[in-house]
Symmetry: C2
Subunit: 256 residues, 2 copies
């Protein structure tokens, strides 16, 4: 049997430890093509580059058949890979491993998941992997079995699973031996309690850093946050149809 | 009765004609605070600025009580406005009027709608307005009645409508007298048929522009694309819970 082709990208940039680990976990299993941002693109959501040209550079990447760095966003990387670099659609698109959580509403801002959602729009099963540790030097060994299990599950069940889905996989930052398994979940509700940090530069002009702490009342059973707290990896199936059908039904009773 | 406070932002930048028109349509009706990007931010989705500081400059804006330009994305503008500039939460957040369509899957990439979704996360009714004409010199007069009707509807029904909703309003590029009304819709499915345009610079190095044409098989009744084609303005209620519950139910039958 031919090895599957897997496209791998991320949002922390092609030099990040997380993408290096992701490729190394899968290099025996698949033909891997890396197309990843040349620099960090955290918090890029599904941003695309419209007002600037995109540059693509061939590079080498341990464990990948081919590798390219791209000047654009994670979503741009998927577009360039599918429409310019790959001759056929890949069997899977993976994004990550992100340094830091994309559980709960973090998914909405996530460049890692932006790339995976773009992949799902192309009708290709796509996964964003994130480890709950944003340290650039994070240890990723506990992710290996989760990554392999999710990838093999998706390849094996390719023809029976729902289509146009992006999978948001988050992995707790605990020892591999302590991870209890993988749980299907819904996205927990949550809030960033914004603490914009105001500072003053050398000319006494104000500037701000986005910071803030995460708050949620929605850590109940069934949510990704609950599963993670219990020591499971969480998997949320993600859609790009943003219509709130329940609200639509209620609103149809109103005339504007 | 006190006038309501409306926060207005956009993604085409504070100098764009669309935001100028949006403010001018509402300046009699509300106290308007403008916090908008200092330069064009199209295609920014819900991107936030993490690796750079944010700068905010007080400016003047015809029809607004207060106005600020911000170096960041549309979503950053909403965060800065809510957490640093405004003393109380506004009654409404409006984004636009965007020069160009945000119907169908354009919503996923839209900076205009990114800002509105951020507003909805704060529990504030938020609307992105878009005109189906991406010309910087577009004529916006046909938007006036739609904008006023939507804003008055949301203010009047504030306490009975579903919460945490962003409204994606698209307006056909036809004469005001030809617009047939406003229709509640779902987001049409669609594809960008990507035509990355490859060019070569003066040093014979390749670069790409994202371009592409839009394709859909889903222009059926009930969709935003159908309503627009029939001469209606479309309104899609948008949620930020990206969980695909139907897929989740099917997937729960599988063990990974």
């Amino acid at each position: 049997m031919n090895k599957p082709t897997i496209l791998i990208t991320n949002d922390d940039g092609i030099q990040a430890k997380g993408i290096y680990n992701l490729v190394s976990f899968l290099k025996e299993l698949a033909n891997i093509v890396v197309v990843a941002p040349s620099k960090a693109q955290s918090g890029q959501s599904m941003a695309i580059t419209i007002a600037d040209p995109l540059r693509v550079h061939k590079t080498s990447f341990d464990g990948a058949k081919q590798a390219f760095s791209c000047s654009g966003t994670p979503t741009d990387c998927v577009k360039i890979a599918i429409h310019e670099i790959l001759e056929e659609k890949p069997d899977l698109i993976l994004s990550g491993i992100n340094h830091g959580s994309n559980a709960s509403v973090n998914v909405n801002y996530s460049g890692t998941m932006g790339a995976a959602i773009e992949g799902s729009m192309e009708g290709i099963a796509s996964v964003g992997f994130s480890l709950l540790n944003h340290d650039p030097q994070a240890e990723f060994s506990m992710c290996e079995q989760i990554v392999k299990d999710v990838v093999q599950f998706l390849l094996k069940n390719k023809h029976s699973l729902p289509s146009h889905i992006a999978y948001n996989v988050n992995i707790p930052n605990i020892k591999a031996s302590e991870i209890k398994g993988i749980k299907w979940c819904r996205q927990a509700n949550g809030d960033w309690v914004e603490q914009l940090e105001k500072r003053f530069d050398g000319s006494n002009q104000a500037y701000y850093w986005l910071t803030g702490s995460f708050d949620t009342q929605d850590k109940i059973q069934g949510t990704d946050l609950f599963a993670l707290e219990q020591g499971f990896a969480s998997v949320v199936p993600i859609q790009y149809d943003l219509t709130n059908y329940k609200a639509l039904k209620a609103l149809e009773n109103y005339d504007i």
